[in-house]
Each structure stands twice: as structure tokens, then as C-alpha cells.
């Protein structure tokens, strides 16, 4: 690949150029800010052209290509430590690049319409380009430190874009929260880098993988666990996932790009990148799998209880990321990357679809405001929706397709990737800690059922039944007339992603499906593609078992859809939810309260630390530390005062002193 690798810096540079152009011109010239077509065109092409380059590179490569790297210049050098700004081109990095730039370009295009009325249009696209730049650094980095630059860079862009509407304190709170929870993970990632350097003397991925034998099992466990903690921050897993649902405060296209399709998958990417290290420690793999499965289940149960359509999608993202970690923990790195790709398609489609819905609802609110300023409702709350399929046909169809895909119905994209994860988890049951993996498999099946259920609850709630707004809000009688489909720039992107959600799964058709009929088969393109990069666990299940598992996963998905249809197909969601709540009692209220994670962190860590600093440390600093200094000073002053009495300026006193002195001296000289 050495002949092509020189193209990689261009992939990185173009989004940076886009950021600088829009950012600097927008900042300097007010007139530039209104040239929205130009801004949008620059920003979108700054992502689209890298996609073309990546595509070219992709076709120039094959599964057998050797990894190549290109170094631009030395970044840091001190003592025996040295690290370059260098990029690595291999099957894994190009796959991620395609997803980031491909889905990224589509979302940029969509945003031109979605953000058209926003006064911060130029700023929005500058930040979006900066995000793509940082994300490409993350996936193409040749060493851990450059990856970390991208890692924190995407975190910064996420911060800037979540808090994009910064005049709203709640939104900037959400942004700050995202940055801080990520920082906790980044702290662990930093320590992991120090350890890696201590063990291997390098931070280059090639050197780390080549010298994996230098790691003892304990060291592999420790390094892997620290990186995994970093990943739980960025990829929103227990215990650090709480920032992601709040991150929905940003514009919806941001949620689609950053908080669904790309940034949040970086944890999965980095672990896949270091798969040989993870495979050294079964205990570590178990921890990753358990956290993944738990997160998947916990987030799915919370998603059941949400009315905010973006919140449902956010928890669904957390849950799907949990699936990916379950795959990693089961040694199925290819399956995890597969789900990263398909999830990027259908979840971006879902988020952008929800954006289209919110766009329409917002328009309704805006119009109603003109005649009646007292009308207020949350345009993201599905209780005010219902029956929208008649008004937003394209949005409905694409949303439905993506929902079927995420639910796991064949032959849509989500089915193949999720099924592979379930199969590989079951497969891990034959290895060390096997019995636990069977339990995880059962949890994953339950989660798969819930996924189908809550996603169809959402779809039915938004698009089926009748439009509920006129019934709930006074003065919104004829509001249905105000609903309209989004412009073609937005719907065409929805259709593009819907098509990918349908066909995306074909890159990873399980071999056994074909092999059953032809004897042997080699149809799993993705598995072949990543063969050289990831070290996967061997699949040891028989075809019969695989078929059974496959049927099982289709069955639970269908069951989930069926139950959702029975309950929500044509009904009011609120009444049905109350029925569900009554059945599950305290359990449901735990889901509804999001397991009180936020309250635990807020009450258990944040507030005590702030209070301790405020009431104890800050006081200690003034009273004790500075107080001691002042005490010494006043001590000196006290003796100064005493000495002052000696300098009275009166002859009598001095004479008196002299007499005493003479007497004393005489006494000492004569008597002793």
C-alpha cells in the first residue's frame, strides 16, 4: 500500500481546510455568514472529496494488502520518547474512514437544509468539519498519541456542538457534562499510554502489535482495562454512559453524526485495533462482555419509558453500543465492526428521520405562535405526535425501514450484524468462563426483543394512530394542516441511508448460510477484509446450532414487533405505558428514573467534591495556610513591639538601663 498512502494526508487536510475557511471568514466578515449555500458547499465538499479519495484507496486495496504508514513530521521528541504525526492505512482504518466520510458527507448535506434558518450556520459547519478532521485523525492515526489527539478532538467538537445553542444553560450543561465524563475515561487512556510506552518503548500501533509478546498477562489485562475505561467514556457504556442521553441537546444532525454514527464507536474501533492484546486476557474479555451486555439491557429498559423521541434513540444507541462491546468481549471483533457499520447506516437514518419530524413539529409550533403566543409544546415529545405518516411520507417510509433494520429482521442490515454478535456470544460459551457467556447470550436475546419492541413503540407513536396535538393543546385545532414534509435535500439523504440500511448487511453474510447449500462458502466479505487486522475467536459452532440461533434471533425480533403492534399499533401510547408500568411496578419506575445514575454521581461525587473544596479547602487555604504565614509575621511584629519599649528616647530610661548593666557586669566579674 506504500504507493497509495501518500493520499491519506489529503483525506485529513480537506476537512481542516473547510473548518478554517468557514471559521475564519465567518468570524471576520459578517456578510459571509449569510452566504449559506457557499458555506454549505464548502463544508460538504470538504467531507465528500475525502470520501472519494478513501473510496479510491479502498478499491486499490485488498484483504491481503500490507499496512502502510506515512509520517508527516515529528510531533514530540524528548529523551527516549518520540512520536510522529503519522497516519496508518490498513483495512480497518480505511473501513472507518469510509463510514466517517460517507455518512458524514450525507449528514452535512442534510444539515444544509436542517440548519438553514439558524444564525450560527457558518459556525455549525465549521465545527462539523473540525469534527470530521478530528475523527479522521482518530481512525487513521499511526500511534496511540495521535489517536488520542483525535479522541479528545472529537470530544471537543462534541462539546461545542452539544452546546451549540449556548444561550440555553441546560444545553451548555449537557455539553460540559459530556466533556467531563469523557475526561474521566481519557484519564485512564492516558495512563494506558504510559504503561504501553513503559513496556514496549513505543506508541506506534505496529510496534505495539509486533511486541505484544512483551506484555505479561497481567500487563495486558491492565492496559486493556484502562483503554476499556477510556472506551466506556467515549462510547457511553456503564458506568460513564450518562452523558450521551443529555448530549441530545445539540442539533439533531449532530446527534446523528457524532452521537450515533461515528464518535461513539471510537471505543469499539480502538479495542479492535488492539485485539491481540485483548485476546491475551480472558478475564478482561469477560469484563468487556459483561459491561457490554449489561449496558445493552439497562439502556434498552430505559428506552422503553421515554417520550422524547431523541431520548429513545439515544438510549437505543447506548444499547446498540453495548451489543458491540459484547461482541468485542466474545472475541468477535469483526462482528463488532460490522455492527459499527450497519448501525451507522440505520441509526443515522433514524436520527435524521427524527430530525425531519422535529423540523415539522417545530414548524407547527412556530406557526401557531404567530396566531396564539401562548401555545407551547415540546416538539420532540411523541405524546403530541401520532398519525404523521400521512403528512411526512418519505420520512415515515425511511424511518420504518431503519426501524426494521435495527429490530433485526432479515435481510436488512441490522439483522446480519446483530445475529453475528449473538452467535459469537453463544460461541464464547464453549471457552473459558463459558457459563457466564451463556447468561450474557440470554441477556442479549432479551435485549434484542426489547429493541424491536421499543423501536416499534416509537415508530407507531410518531407515525401511526391519529395526530394528537389538536386534542392536547388548546388553540392547535387545525395544526395538522401545518405539517409538511422536509425539503428534498433532507429526504434524499434519508432515502440514501434507508437504502444502505437495507443492503448494508450483505457485506457480512455468514458463511454457513451459503455453505449449507453448497458445502463450503467464502461469502463474508467483511471477515475476509479484516482478516489481517483483527485477531478473532474461532467459530466452533456447527451449522445446525447456527441455524437454530439465527431462527431464534429472528423469532425474538418478530415477537418484539408483534407485541409492540398489539399494544401501540393504533392506540394512545400513554395509556398503554401506564399498563406496562402497572405490570412491572417498582422495576418500571427504576427504568423511568434511569436507574438513578445521574443522582448517584451528582450526589455521591460532584456535589461532595465541590462542597468539600468550598467549605473545607478554600477555608483551609485562607485560615490555615495563609493564617500560619500571618501568624509568623505577627509573631515577629510582637517582638518588634517589645523591642520598641527599649527605644523610648528618654535619657532617664537609658541611664537606668546602663546602671543595671554595670551592676550586672560587676556582679559577674567580682562575685563569681
Amino acid at each position: 500500500m506504500d504507493a497509495y498512502v501518500h493520499l491519506v494526508p489529503w483525506i485529513i487536510a480537506l476537512p481542516l481546510v473547510g473548518f478554517l475557511l468557514n471559521g475564519l471568514f465567518g468570524l471576520a466578515f459578517e456578510s459571509y455568514r449569510d452566504r449559506k449555500n457557499l458555506i454549505g458547499a464548502i463544508a460538504t465538499s470538504a467531507v465528500f472529496f475525502p470520501f472519494l479519495i478513501a473510496l479510491y484507496l479502498f478499491f486499490a486495496m485488498s484483504g491481503d494488502s500490507e499496512a502502510a504508514s506515512v509520517s508527516l513530521f515529528t510531533w514530540m521528541q524528548a529523551g527516549d520518547f518520540s512520536v510522529d504525526i503519522a497516519y496508518r492505512l490498513d483495512q480497518l482504518s480505511i473501513l472507518m474512514t469510509l463510514v466517517v466520510t460517507g455518512v458524514g458527507a450525507l449528514i452535512h448535506l442534510y444539515s444544509v437544509g436542517y440548519m438553514a434558518d439558524d444564525e450560527g450556520f457558518w459556525k455549525f459547519f465549521a465545527f462539523m468539519n473540525l469534527f470530521i478532521f478530528a475523527m479522521l485523525n482518530l481512525v487513521l492515526a499511526d500511534n496511540m498519541l495521535l489517536l488520542f489527539l483525535g479522541w479528545e478532538g472529537v470530544g471537543l467538537c462534541s462539546y461545542l456542538l452539544i452546546g451549540f445553542w449556548y444561550t440555553d444553560m441546560a444545553k451548555s450543561d449537557a455539553a460540559k457534562k459530556a466533556f467531563l465524563y469523557n475526561r474521566v475515561g481519557d484519564f485512564a487512556f492516558l495512563i494506558a499510554m504510559f504503561l504501553v510506552f513503559q513496556i514496549t518503548g513505543s506508541l506506534r500501533f505496529q510496534d505495539i502489535l509486533d511486541s505484544a509478546y512483551l506484555f505479561s498477562t497481567d500487563q495486558a489485562f491492565l492496559v486493556g482495562a484502562l483503554i476499556f475505561i477510556g472506551a466506556t467514556g467515549k462510547s457511553a457504556q456503564i458506568p460513564l454512559f450518562v452523558w450521551l442521553p443529555d448530549a441530545m441537546a445539540g442539533p439533531t444532525s449532530v446527534s446523528a453524526l457524532i452521537h450515533a454514527a461515528t464518535m461513539v464507536t471510537s471505543g469499539i474501533y480502538v479495542i479492535s485495533r488492539l485485539s491481540p492484546l485483548y485476546m491475551m486476557s480472558p478475564e478482561l474479555m469477560l469484563i468487556v462482555a459483561v459491561i457490554g451486555a449489561l449496558t445493552a439491557l439497562v439502556a434498552a429498559t430505559i428506552a422503553l419509558t421515554r417520550y422524547d423521541i431523541k431520548a429513545v434513540l439515544a438510549y437505543s444507541t447506548v444499547s446498540q453500543l453495548g451489543f458491540m462491546f459484547l461482541a468485542l468481549g466474545s472475541g468477535a471483533f469483526v462482528a463488532a465492526m460490522f455492527h459499527v457499520v450497519t448501525h451507522a447506516f440505520f441509526k443515522a437514518c433514524l436520527f435524521l428521520g427524527s430530525g425531519s419530524v422535529i423540523h415539522a413539529m417545530h414548524h407547527v409550533e412556530h406557526k401557531l405562535h404567530k396566531t396564539n403566543p401562548d401555545v407551547h409544546f415540546d416538539p420532540q415529545d411523541m405524546r403530541f405526535m401520532g398519525g404523521l405518516r400521512a403528512y411526512l411520507p418519505s420520512t415515515y417510509k425511511t424511518f420504518l425501514i431503519a426501524t426494521i433494520a435495527i429490530a433485526g429482521i432479515p435481510p436488512l442490515a441490522g439483522f446480519f450484524s446483530k445475529d453475528e454478535i449473538l452467535v459469537m456470544t453463544f460461541n464464547a460459551g464453549a471457552g473459558v468462563y463459558g457459563s457466564i457467556y451463556y447468561v450474557l447470550w440470554a441477556m442479549a436475546m432479551l435485549t434484542a426483543f426489547m429493541t424491536a419492541f421499543y423501536m416499534f413503540r416509537l415508530t407507531f407513536g410518531i407515525f401511526h394512530g391519529s395526530f394528537r396535538l389538536p386534542k392536547l393543546i388548546e388553540g392547535a385545532k387545525d395544526s395538522a394542516k401545518l405539517l409538511h414534509e422536509s425539503p428534498w435535500t433532507m429526504t434524499s439523504v434519508l432515502w440514501g441511508l434507508a437504502v444502505l440500511s437495507v443492503i448494508g448487511g450483505f457485506i457480512g453474510i455468514p458463511n454457513f448460510v451459503v455453505a449449507t447449500f453448497t458445502g463450503t462458502a467464502d461469502v463474508n466479505l467483511l471477515s475476509n477484509w479484516l482478516d489481517k487486522v483483527t485477531l478473532d475467536a474461532d467459530l466452533i459452532l456447527s451449522k445446525q446450532v447456527e441455524w437454530m440461533l439465527l431462527s431464534g434471533s429472528v423469532l425474538v425480533a418478530s415477537l418484539g414487533i408483534f407485541v409492540a403492534y398489539k399494544k401501540y399499533g393504533n392506540q394512545e401510547p400513554v395509556a398503554e405505558d401506564e399498563a406496562v408500568a402497572a405490570r412491572f411496578g417498582p422495576l418500571y419506575s427504576l427504568w423511568n428514573k434511569k436507574y438513578l445514575f445521574d443522582e448517584m454521581y451528582e450526589g455521591g461525587i460532584v456535589r461532595p467534591v465541590v462542597r468539600f473544596s468550598d467549605r473545607v479547602l478554600a477555608v483551609f487555604d485562607i485560615r490555615a495556610i495563609d493564617g500560619f504565614v500571618n501568624f509568623i509575621a505577627s509573631f515577629v511584629r510582637f517582638f518588634g513591639h517589645l523591642a520598641r519599649y527599649l527605644q523610648t528616647g528618654m535619657i532617664q530610661t537609658y541611664a537606668y538601663g546602663m546602671v543595671i548593666g554595670v551592676v550586672l557586669i560587676l556582679y559577674l566579674l567580682i562575685i563569681r
Binding site: 524528548a78 479528545e152 440555553d168
Partner: protein, 541 residues
């Protein structure tokens, strides 16, 4: 070049003399700006002509005859890898400092700018002098203008603040003066034919070896002075006060230049002169550094005054520098040097930025702001960049220093434990916490206060003085090797020489009859003389 170096050092103080003859305030400002700009431009050849291949020999040296009768105290200046960057930082910051107080100073203008210029000569002298005695004199030369800068042009509690700053520092440095004289005589006896000397070259001569008992006391006396100046927890209480009360220019010089004199002195004198003590006390200093990082951050978090918050964040940042210096690895020490520069740039920028807000609103209370981003977009970008640099975002300068320090101390044999690094690294979480929280409360949210609705964005002068800082914040973040290359060889050399010297001294100490506490401190086995020690028996023969 030797001449140029002296010219650069004294041009500001000569300029200060001319200020008395200028009547117009505007002309005084322009004259000071031209002088400092001239100094900066003249100092550039010193950087470009610097020979990277030389180590252990300072460049552009000028040496005079001894000027104190009986004592061999000479005026020696020169630059080497350790001082060069800080010297350049001083010449670079001066015009920016002058510009930052362009509008805010209206009383005794000539005096104000005169003080700044004298301060610059003092600072340049501190970094360039290669004689401990000269170092001390130049240091005192910086203290006096600083005393007046805070005391005359400061805020409400300026007198209290400046007296505390001055007396606190003075106490430490007088103690050091006593130790300095002792060192001078000791060095005279060992390496200068019995004549008192404080020549840096002779003090770092391998033949100059202080015994472990003397070293300990001298190290503590010097260390105490530097601890106060840096400042290291728990000797920091003068700093928040001085920073808060000082005018913007004073705060910037204090943060960017003056605090660096303490950390610089550690590398220049404390570690090379007292190698055994420096190594033996390294864990203690590292602990104080780490406490400073966390403590400074936590106290910064709950401050209500933005300037005080930045002041406490300085304590946190300097904790990193201290950790880096006492890790005794090239990586960490290199990180410490670049972190000194970084802190100067980003904290300097933050103080300037807060000063700009203060000039507009005459308050620094966080609660008086909110939603400023809407009114001042360019200001927001600058403030954001400086904040992110301070947080240590990769790609900006702060990260480079912190990363090298943490990485270097993680692998430090002298510290011998990774926990210093682990605790220090937790500072990155806290830094993001207090900085972003402050930034949010000042810049984001709705515009609550009527006064803030009239705020004007930065003017050309203000943009012009911040942009150079931002350029370096990004430059060092992306290509730090353009800067670290100057100190790399010298730092490596320094640490190697120091450790070798410590080894010789402690081997000699084996045969001496030392008090018990010394043996414990320097880990010299009690029953050494009765043991058959191969190295030592060879020496005896």
C-alpha cells in the same frame, strides 16, 4: 553576539531612563512599545545563531573581572539550552504586556512603564546570569518594580498584597543569601584556590563536592526560597492575593516570567549544586507538586473571582513543572521546561483576557457575567483557545508539557513509583472541571445583566496582542520540537552530570562518619565499613 546579549539585557533599563524626559502619555506608551519590540527583534538572532550541538558550555558568554574586592564575583552572562527559551519568552512577552495596559493605566504613566522596563532587564538578567551572586542581584532587581507595580497600580487591597508578596519572598531569599555565601566560600576552598566564588561554571565543576550534611542544610535553604517563589504548596498563599490585586500587566509578568524564576533556579542551581539532596528529596518535592496540582485545582473550582481562579490554576500548573523537574528523566525535565513556557503563554493570555473584561465592566466576579459569547464573538474564540490550552487539549501547547512530564515521571527511577503520575494525571479531569465551569458561567447562558448588553468586541489592538500568543499556543501544540530542540541536549547533559556527581559524593560518604539521619536520608548502609565492598576496596588500594 556577546555584545548583542548585553545590549538586549540593558536596553529596557536604559529606555526606562529616557521615559522621564517624555511628557506626553501617548508618547511614553509608544516609546515603551518600540523599546520592547526592539528588544524582541534584537533577541531573535540569539535564538537563530544558537548552536544546538554544544552542551555544558553556555553561549554568547561575557565575563568581567571580579568587582568585589577579595571575592571572586564576576559579571557573567550567557545563554544555554536551559535558559534560552525562558529568555526568549521574556523578550516576547514584553511588548504584549505593554500593549495590554495601553488604556487601563492613566496614573503615573511614566512610572508604570519605567517599572515594566526595569523589570524586564531584571528578568533577562536572572535568566542570563551565570554567576549565583549576579543571579541574586538581578532577582532583587525584579522584586522592587514588582512591589511598586502591585502597590501603586493595584486593586483595593494592593498594599497588603504587595507587602505580603515582597516580605514573604524576601524572607526566603535572605535565608538563601546566607546559604549562598556559605556555598561561595566552600566552592572557593575546593575549586578556586581559597577565594570566594559563585561562578556557575566552578559551582558545577565535578571537583566541587559538598558533603552530605552541608548539602542537606544548604539544599533546604535554597529550596525554601525557590518553593516560595514558584510557589509550591504550602508556600503559595501570597500568590492568589498578589495576582488578584496586581494590574493586568503585573499579573501577566508575574505569571509568565516571575514565577518561572523559581522553577528555572531549581534546574539551574538547586539540582546541580546539591545533587544528592535533590535526589533524596525528589519524592518529597514530587508529592508537594502533586498536592499542588490537585489542591490548586480544587480551590480554583470554587473561586468566585475569575482572576483568583486563574491564580489558583497557576499553582496547579506549576505543580506539574515541579513534578517534571524532580522526576530526573530527560522526558519529564523537557516537559517541565516547555510547560514553563506554556504556562507563561496560556496563563498570560488568560490574565490579559480577564483584564479586557475588567476594563469593560470593572468587575471580575463570575456572577456578574453570563452570555458574553453573544456580544463578543472574537473574544470568545480567544478565550476558548486559551482555556483549552490551559485544560491541556491535545494539539495545543498545554498538552505537550503535561504529557511529557507525566510520561517522564511515570518511568522515573528516582521517584520509583507510578502513583505520582497517576494522581497528577487526575488533575486533567479537575482542570477541565474548573475551567469549563467558569467558562460556561461567564460566556454561556442568557444575558442576565443589562450592563453586559453593551459590551463591545475586541478592537484591533486587543486582537493584535492576543494573536501572537494564540499562534504560539497552537505552534507549540503541533510542532513542539521546534522549541524543545533547544533544551534537549542541555537537559540530558544536566541530568547525567548531576546523577554522576551524586554517585561520586555518596560513594565518598561511605567512609565518613555521618549522623544517623543522613545515612537514612541518603540510604547509606550503617554497616558499610564492615562489608566487603568491591568498588571501594579498589579505591583504597
Amino acid at each position: 553576539m556577546e555584545l548583542l546579549l548585553n545590549f538586549v539585557i540593558y536596553l529596557p533599563i536604559v529606555g526606562a531612563l529616557f521615559l522621564f524626559f517624555i511628557k506626553s502619555e501617548e508618547a511614553i506608551r509608544w516609546f515603551s512599545l518600540v523599546v520592547t519590540l526592539g528588544v524582541f527583534i534584537l533577541s531573535l538572532p540569539l535564538l537563530f545563531a544558537f548552536d544546538l550541538s554544544l552542551t555544558g558550555t553556555p553561549q554568547y558568554m561575557s565575563v568581567t573581572e571580579p568587582f568585589l574586592s577579595d571575592w571572586d564575583v564576576k559579571y557573567i552572562v550567557g545563554l544555554d539550552g536551559i535558559s534560552l527559551l525562558l529568555f526568549m519568552l521574556t523578550t516576547f512577552m514584553a511588548p504584549i504586556v505593554i500593549l495590554s495596559s495601553w488604556k487601563s493605566i492613566t496614573r503615573h504613566v511614566a512610572g508604570f512603564y519605567g517599572m515594566l522596563l526595569v523589570l524586564q532587564t531584571g528578568s533577562l538578567g536572572v535568566f542570563a546570569s551565570l554567576d549565583l551572586f549576579m543571579f541574586y542581584i538581578f532577582f532583587e532587581l525584579t522584586q522592587i518594580p514588582m512591589f511598586f507595580l502591585i502597590g501603586i497600580w493595584g486593586g483595593k487591597d494592593r498594599i497588603y498584597a504587595t507587602v505580603k508578596f515582597f516580605v514573604y519572598t524576601l524572607v526566603g531569599w535572605l535565608l538563601m543569601l546566607v546559604a549562598l555565601i556559605y556555598v561561595g566560600y566552600a566552592a572557593g576552598n575546593m575549586v578556586n584556590d581559597g577565594v570566594f566564588t559563585t561562578d556557575w561554571k566552578l559551582l558545577t565543576d565535578p571537583a566541587f563536592q559538598l558533603g552530605l550534611v552541608e548539602q542537606t542544610w544548604l539544599f533546604l535553604a535554597f529550596g525554601f526560597a525557590f518553593c516560595i517563589k514558584i510557589p509550591i504548596f504550602p508556600f503559595h498563599s501570597w500568590l492568589p492575593l498578589a495576582h488578584t490585586e496586581a494590574p493586568t500587566a503585573g499579573s501577566v509578568v508575574l505569571a509568565a516570567i516571575a514565577l518561572k524564576m523559581g522553577t528555572y533556579a531549581v534546574l539551574r542551581y538547586l539540582i546541580p549544586l546539591f545533587p544528592n539532596s535533590a535526589i533524596a528529596f525528589a519524592p518529597m518535592f514530587a508529592v508537594l507538586g502533586v498536592i499542588g496540582i490537585i489542591y490548586g485545582a480544587l480551590v480554583a473550582m470554587v473561586q468566585k473571582d475569575v482572576k483568583k481562579l486563574i491564580a489558583y490554576s497557576s499553582i496547579s500548573h506549576l505543580g506539574f513543572v515541579v513534578l517534571g523537574m524532580f522526576a530526573f528523566t530527560t522526558t519529564a525535565a523537557q516537559g517541565a521546561i516547555i510547560q514553563m513556557v506554556n504556562h507563561g503563554l496560556s496563563t498570560g493570555a488568560l490574565f490579559i483576557i480577564i483584564g479586557m473584561l475588567y476594563e469593560r465592566r470593572h468587575t471580575r466576579m463570575i456572577s456578574d457575567f453570563g452570555g458574553i459569547a453573544k456580544m463578543m464573538p472574537v473574544f470568545t474564540v480567544m478565550f476558548m483557545l486559551a482555556t483549552l490550552a490551559s485544560i491541556g487539549l491535545p494539539g495545543l501547547n498545554g498538552f505537550v508539557g503535561e504529557f511529557l512530564i507525566l510520561l517522564g515521571s511515570f518511568n522515573s527511577e528516582v521517584l520509583g513509583s507510578v502513583w505520582y503520575t497517576v494522581f497528577a494525571a487526575s488533575g486533567v479531569i479537575l482542570a477541565a472541571g474548573y475551567m469549563l465551569w467558569m467558562f460556561q458561567r461567564v460566556m454561556f447562558g442568557p444575558l442576565k445583566h443589562e450592563e453586559n448588553k453593551k459590551l463591545k468586541d475586541l478592537n484591533a489592538r486587543e486582537i493584535g496582542l492576543l494573536v501572537p500568543l494564540m499562534v504560539f499556543i497552537i505552534w507549540i501544540g503541533i510542532r513542539p520540537t521546534d522549541f524543545t530542540k533547544y533544551s534537549e541536549a542541555e537537559v540530558t547533559n544536566l541530568l547525567q552530570v548531576t546523577q554522576e556527581r551524586a554517585k561520586t559524593i555518596s560513594e565518598d560518604a561511605f567512609v565518613q562518619d555521618l549522623p544517623d539521619w543522613t545515612k537514612r536520608l541518603y540510604q547509606i548502609p550503617d554497616d558499610f565499613l564492615t562489608q566487603d565492598h568491591p568498588d571501594h576496596s579498589e579505591c583504597d588500594e
